[in-house]
């Protein structure tokens, strides 16, 4: 199976390489690109919700389950995505302030973002799949991954130490 699939994927990559213009997304065109809603939860079963305009990960019970935030995903190119919430009206970005790097929720429409502009890059995340789980690395901040804390009700953030025991960077990520 694996041996069979490898040349296929290479062929696909070759095709995509040969026809780059065909693979490019143009979110800047008048018609908004289609945004897909995904459910995200970490390997410790924590889901995302908003607290005081901040995205946090925790356990939601009974009537609180309606607080869960779905992630709006707009594919930019192969393996690169824009991530948003609230119908793509708030987008996740990586912001560098001095020598600090942090995850930010910005009030921009996901369909107005463009990967070609430098400002669009901070909203871009590279998704990589490993078994059933997915990790998201910031394109603007290489080596920094979307993460949750082991402890519940803590902010969703970015880490450059994905191996740490108190940090979770592996998410289940499935279309809603």
């Amino acid at each position: 199976m694996g041996a069979c699939r490898c040349p296929t994927s290479h062929l696909i990559s070759l095709l995509l390489f040969l026809f780059p213009s065909e693979t490019a997304c143009r979110p800047s065109v008048k018609r908004p690109c289609k945004v897909q809603a995904f459910r995200i939860w970490d390997v410790n079963q924590k889901t995302f919700y908003l607290r005081n305009n901040q995205l946090v990960a925790g356990y939601l019970q009974g009537p609180n389950t309606k607080l869960e935030e779905k992630i709006d995903v707009l594919p930019v190119e192969s393996h690169a995505v824009f991530l948003g919430i609230h119908g793509g009206k708030l987008c996740l970005s990586c912001v560098k302030a001095g020598d600090k790097i942090r995850l930010q929720l910005e009030a921009v429409d996901i369909t107005d973002l463009s990967k070609t502009q430098e400002q669009g890059k901070r909203f871009t995340f590279i998704r990589s799949d490993s078994g059933p789980t997915t990790s998201f690395e910031s394109a603007a901040c290489p080596g920094w991954f979307l993460c949750t804390q082991l402890e519940a009700d803590r902010p969703v953030s970015l880490t450059n130490k994905p191996g740490e025991a108190i940090i979770v960077t592996k998410f289940y990520f499935q279309q809603d």
């Binding site: 699939r5 296929t8 994927s9 696909i12 990559s13 095709l15 995509l16 026809f19 065909e22 693979t23 490019a24 997304c25 143009r26 065109v29 008048k30 018609r31 690109c33 289609k34 897909q36 995904f38 459910r39 939860w41 390997v43 410790n44 079963q45 924590k46 607290r51 005081n52 356990y59 939601l60 019970q61 009974g62 009537p63 609180n64 389950t65 607080l67 995903v73 594919p75 930019v76 190119e77 192969s78 393996h79 995505v81 998704r127 799949d129 078994g131 059933p132 402890e151 519940a152 009700d153 289940y172 499935q174 279309q175």
Partner: protein, 428 residues
């Protein structure tokens, strides 16, 4: 307060409306009823805080408790807004909305304040209600309310206490016994017992493994049968009595949706069609072993949605097809023209496929098939014309050479004619 003012405004409106029409008055009576009911439904939202204390509102998460079990209510603004560093500089008080006094202190009552939280051990339905935490110092005061709902330990109340958790089929994953932090803090001998459908899970089971010293239950090779109701139970001792702490979990199992980079394999760049006829252009996408539900596929006309371009629905997107051929998945969506008109020849139709792994667009244009048949029709005509032209040319040439020959003949004839009498003369 706001509702009260609103009600007043509605009263003014009703007096003016009554003078007009009876039906209008009836409508206002309805509005009044709605106004009054909304006034009675939300009492805690309009609690005026004592003194100059700022009321931050109700904490958005409801705390759920099970009768007979301990419950801990955290002061929300301390935990999430001010942080632990503010603790030494402020005083913290709690009160319950329906009781005039403070929340009773002292462990003997089973309700006491410890650090930033109220402990209720054990909780009963009477403990349900709104609790208000006040944080103040000499220059600062703020309040926030938090709701507690204590449910009877019955089957009927289980849905209110459930934590949904999800795992992927055919993989290993963990369930987590959530929100035990306050009870398991600084405990190394934490013991959690796991139940599925009220049956204690066997620890020697290869399928389930309760990871010692953690709140996790490892499930190997998750199958559809593993979905359902789980509960995890730990204990908490207070004044010589052990109390159970139960968390109910509903496990959902999901198929691993494998995504692959989608590749459009048809249509061609140009499609031939005759004006006035019906045309279907299928856009076919190869997904390989990937599953199709997460892949979007649609058509655009000049970079605009088909639906918004063709309001009259002359051009539409057909039914999406999802199928497998030789264990490889394909999706297909047709673009249907009913009928094709001249305008379509100048339109850029694009098939777009997109999932989180890739995007591809394929442009296609419609060409008029009749222009090609005209060519075919013209070919024999031009051939005939060429032939006729050839014949004419030939005949013309033939005619010219014929004339020249006649002349020479005539000349020689003339010569012959001239010399002829000489010969006669010679004979004579």
């Amino acid at each position: 307060m706001q509702s009260y003012r609103l009600q007043g405004a509605r009263l003014e409106m009703s007096t003016s409306c009554v003078l007009q029409k009876l039906s209008g008055a009836m409508f206002i009576v309805y509005l009044l009823i709605v106004g009054v009911s909304s006034f009675t439904i939300q009492p805690e939202e309009h609690t005026v805080p004592a003194g100059n204390c700022r009321f931050r509102g109700k904490y958005f998460k409801t705390n759920i408790g099970i009768e007979g079990e301990p419950v801990v209510l955290q002061c929300p603004q301390m935990r999430y807004w001010l942080g632990a560093s503010a603790r030494p500089h402020v005083s913290l008080t709690w009160r319950k909305n329906d009781s005039a006094g403070m929340v009773p202190g002292g462990e003997e009552t089973g309700v006491w304040v410890q650090d930033d939280a109220i402990w209720i051990v054990p909780a009963w339905q009477g403990h349900s209600g709104t609790y208000i935490c006040t944080v103040r110092n000499a220059s600062y005061c703020d309040e926030m309310s938090i709701e507690l709902r204590v449910f009877e330990k019955t089957e009927a109340s289980v849905p209110f206490t459930l934590y949904p958790q999800s795992l992927t089929l055919s993989t290993a994953g963990t369930l987590v016994c959530p929100e035990l932090g306050q009870f398991t803090h600084n405990k190394t001998d934490m013991k959690i017992q796991w139940y599925k459908d009220s049956v204690l899970l066997d620890q020697d089971n290869k399928k389930f493994l309760s990871v010692k010293g953690t709140t996790r239950l490892l499930i190997n090779n998750v199958s559809v049968e593993d979905a359902g109701y789980y509960s995890c139970v730990t204990t908490f001792a207070h004044k010589g009595t052990r109390y159970n702490i139960t968390r109910n979990i509903k496990l959902h199992t999901k198929i691993k949706e494998e995504e692959t980079v989608p590749v459009i394999i048809s249509p061609h760049q140009t499609i031939l069609a005759s004006l006035g006829s019906r045309l279907t252009i299928p856009c076919k996408v190869f997904l390989g072993t990937g599953t199709d539900s997460a892949t979007l596929l649609w058509w655009k006309a000049n970079n605009t949605d088909i639906k918004s371009t063709y309001h009259e629905r002359r051009v539409t997107e057909g039914q999406r097809l999802e199928y497998s051929e030789n264990n490889e998945n394909y999706i297909e969506i047709p673009l249907i023209f009913n009928p094709v008109i001249r305008e379509d020849l100048n339109t850029d139709f694009t098939c777009v496929v997109r999932n989180t792994l890739g995007i591809q667009m394929l442009h296609t244009t419609v060409k008029e098939a009749t222009t090609f048949s005209w060519g075919i029709a013209l070919a024999p005509i031009s051939l005939v014309l060429l032939l006729l032209g050839g014949i004419w040319m030939h005949r013309r040439y033939k005619h010219r050479t014929g004339k020249a020959y006649g002349l020479t003949v005539l000349k020689t004839g003339h010569q012959d004619f001239e010399s002829y009498p000489r010969k006669i003369k010679e004979i004579k």
